[in-house]
Amino acid sequence: MSFKAFKKGMHNFTTNISIIINTILLIIVYFIGVGITFIFAKMVGKHFLDMKLSKGSYWKTLNLKKKPMVSYYRQF
């Protein structure tokens, strides 16, 4: 077997293993991180998306305007 073929095989193997490990770790994050927060939020009646239909206007006040320069260095 040539070294090139060996390298390719190892690369594929590593990729597959990393996909499996990543998936397992992310599943843990999802069920523990997201899941537990979801349960607490449900218990206190908190919602994260505004989906309720109502009678009044749906416009929300935004008032987005020029801010101090320092706020634009932030990613939020």
Binding site: S57, K60, L64, Y72
Partner: protein
């Protein structure tokens, strides 16, 4: 002062460069990478921007990014928290890219570009607002931005005055007209964020009567619209907030059947649904615009966001709302926010006076006569050289009049999704077989899709029932107007089934060769209108380089290529012929 704007990771990646208040270069990454709707970091577009000015990244004073990534991340995590455990699949598929790319914009920009300066992050909808207002001819205007979603905002309105922009109110995710349009696009079996304009083109084949279209009232079950134009989606009919599909089972039941398989037949029900969607969208937008006019008391309107590319509705705005003037940037979608980012930094944040107004979209790479001739000679391509502009214009017009299809490669590549006479395919609209000819030879498009006309600005009002004076967005094919009835049979190839046309108006100063060719064609045919369609192989982005243009001609049935002052005839270069249709992927 140089400011570089960057957008990437979600929709069409792009870059724009501003120099002392003026946009000097802008382009989408896809044109260089040749991957349609390329979302990766726009290395190549940035390289073009810098090289066009002969500068390096060290000359750039600021780099601007088109959104606030952490706020977007907050919204995404909120979706997972609201929809647990349904969103597991998308969590697993999308989270890696957040960790690896989307939360690492600062380090990516610094490492990729070796940039040592500051990076400014501009709210997404502010980028949209600025991309239209700050390059418009208006000192003061009402601003409306409507897209799928940015960070949280999907729709907003406000006022622009001088250098300042204030977005007053918004509607937030998951409530979104853009996502409603995309959901029905997906339901109709078309690709999302790529084919919404096809659904817009399909609508006239359906029942456009609000009283008798059965789906019109049904669609109002999926969206609650108030008199002030504000709206909320009934999320029972959607699943885009937790799944990798958009319409839910409830939507499929409401619309009388499952999601259409992409290659299956588009039947009358689909056409009627497309029509209903277009009418619902127009009704919501009209309510929004009427409300905005009332709140802002401005007669000027600028629009941005992907929904502002709905040119059928745009053509009705001045007739159906109190606004008197309108301006929309040619790249109104997400790729266009880079224009807004650089101008917002220069004019609003840094307080510099506005001195630039966008009057054409020729912001991409241009190739001079020497470069093109070198390419032709190096590749042993047979060509002839026009003696002067007059000969070029007369020959091009004559070829179109003789029902040939010509590729037209001139000047700087267009900014935005439309070809506007720099990277275009031209043909005669008087030929009733032109649509079939173009579809067979070149474009291989769905039968229901119309081709678009280009007309000189001083002739537009003769052929089209357009607003007067012709609004500037028409220069960027952003307005659809009715073709006067007496011309329907004379220009059948650019008259849609409902008698409308998505025209491009060209003004002489924008592109004299193009303008003169159309006029010359008019002398021969008595109708100074040409078909203008984008110069590309099916499934590929619009051509960018002379190589792309030549390759496209040789892989399709385009008869001639007019590239700067050179004429290349396809049949004289048989060694380079190939069949692009074999390899085309939509």
């Amino acid at each position: 002062m140089y400011i570089l704007g960057i957008s990437c990771y979600y929709h069409d990646s792009s870059a724009a460069l501003l120099k002392d208040g003026k946009i000097v270069a802008a382009a989408e990454e896809e044109r260089f990478s040749r991957k349609k709707h390329d979302t990766t970091f726009p290395d190549l577009a940035i390289k073009y921007c810098l090289e066009s000015q002969g500068i390096t990244i060290d000359d750039v004073d600021y780099v601007g990014f088109y959104e606030k990534p952490f706020i977007k991340f907050e919204r995404v995590l909120s979706q997972h928290l609201e929809c647990f455990p349904l969103s597991l699949k998308v969590f697993l598929s999308s989270t890696p890219s957040w960790i690896n790319e989307k939360l690492r914009v600062v380090s990516k920009i610094k490492k990729s570009l070796k940039y040592k300066g500051d990076i400014l992050f501009i709210d997404h909808h502010m980028g949209h607002a600025a991309s239209s207002f700050l390059v418009s001819p208006f000192k003061k205007a009402a601003i409306v931005t409507v897209d799928g979603v940015g960070e949280w905002t999907t729709t907003s309105y406000g006022i622009g005055e001088g250098n300042d922009i204030r977005l007053l109110k918004d509607i937030q995710f998951p409530n979104s007209i853009g996502l409603l349009y995309s959901t029905i696009t997906a339901y109709l079996g078309f690709t999302v964020n790529n084919s919404e304009y096809k659904v817009m083109g399909l609508a006239p084949y359906g029942n456009m009567d609000r009283k008798t279209n059965p789906w019109y009232n049904k669609l109002f079950k999926v969206v609650d619209v108030k008199d002030d134009g504000s709206y909320r989606l009934n999320m029972k009919y959607f699943k885009f907030h937790w799944a990798d599909r958009m319409p839910s089972h409830a939507m499929c039941s409401l619309l009388g059947g499952p999601i259409r398989k992409p290659e299956s037949e588009v039947d009358q029900r689909h056409k009627d649904i497309a029509a209903a969607l277009q009418m619902v969208t127009e009704d919501i937008m009209t309510k929004i615009l009427n409300h905005v006019h009332k709140e802002t008391k401005c007669n000027n309107l600028v629009m941005a966001g992907g929904v502002a590319l709905n040119s059928v509705y745009n053509g009705k705005i001045l007739k159906n709302t109190p606004f008197k003037k309108i301006w929309i940037q040619p790249a109104a979608g997400d790729g266009g926010t880079v224009i807004g980012v650089v101008h917002y930094i220069y004019n609003t944040i840094l307080g510099n006076k506005r001195t630039y107004q966008m009057t054409d979209a020729n912001l991409g790479p241009k190739y001079n006569t020497e470069q093109i001739q070198t390419f032709l000679d190096k590749n042993n391509i047979k060509y002839t050289t026009f003696k002067n502009d007059n000969e070029l214009v007369k020959t091009s017009a004559k070829l179109c009049h003789e029902n040939h299809v010509i590729g037209w490669f001139q000047d700087g590549m267009e900014w935005g999704p439309r070809a506007l006479g720099c990277r275009s395919i031209l043909a005669s609209p008087c030929n009733p077989k032109a649509k079939e000819l173009l579809n067979t030879k070149v474009k291989h498009r769905e039968k229901f899709r119309p081709f678009a006309p280009v007309v000189c600005d001083d002739d537009a009002a003769k052929y089209f029932d357009c607003d007067k004076p012709v609004p500037e967005p028409t220069d960027y094919m952003l307005m659809v107007y009715p073709v006067f009835k007496k011309w329907h049979k004379k220009i059948p190839s650019v008259t849609h089934v409902d008698g409308s046309g998505r025209l491009q108006t060209i003004r002489k100063h924008q592109n004299p060769r193009y303008y003169n060719t159309i006029k010359e064609f008019g002398k021969l045919s008595k109708i100074p209108i040409l078909i203008n369609t984008s110069f590309n192989i099916r499934g590929e982005p619009i051509v960018c380089t002379p190589h792309d243009a030549y390759k496209c001609m040789m892989g399709t049935g385009i008869d001639y290529l007019v590239m700067d002052k050179f004429l290349i005839k396809r049949s004289e270069n048989p060694k380079d012929m190939w069949d692009s249709e074999k390899y085309a992927i939509d």
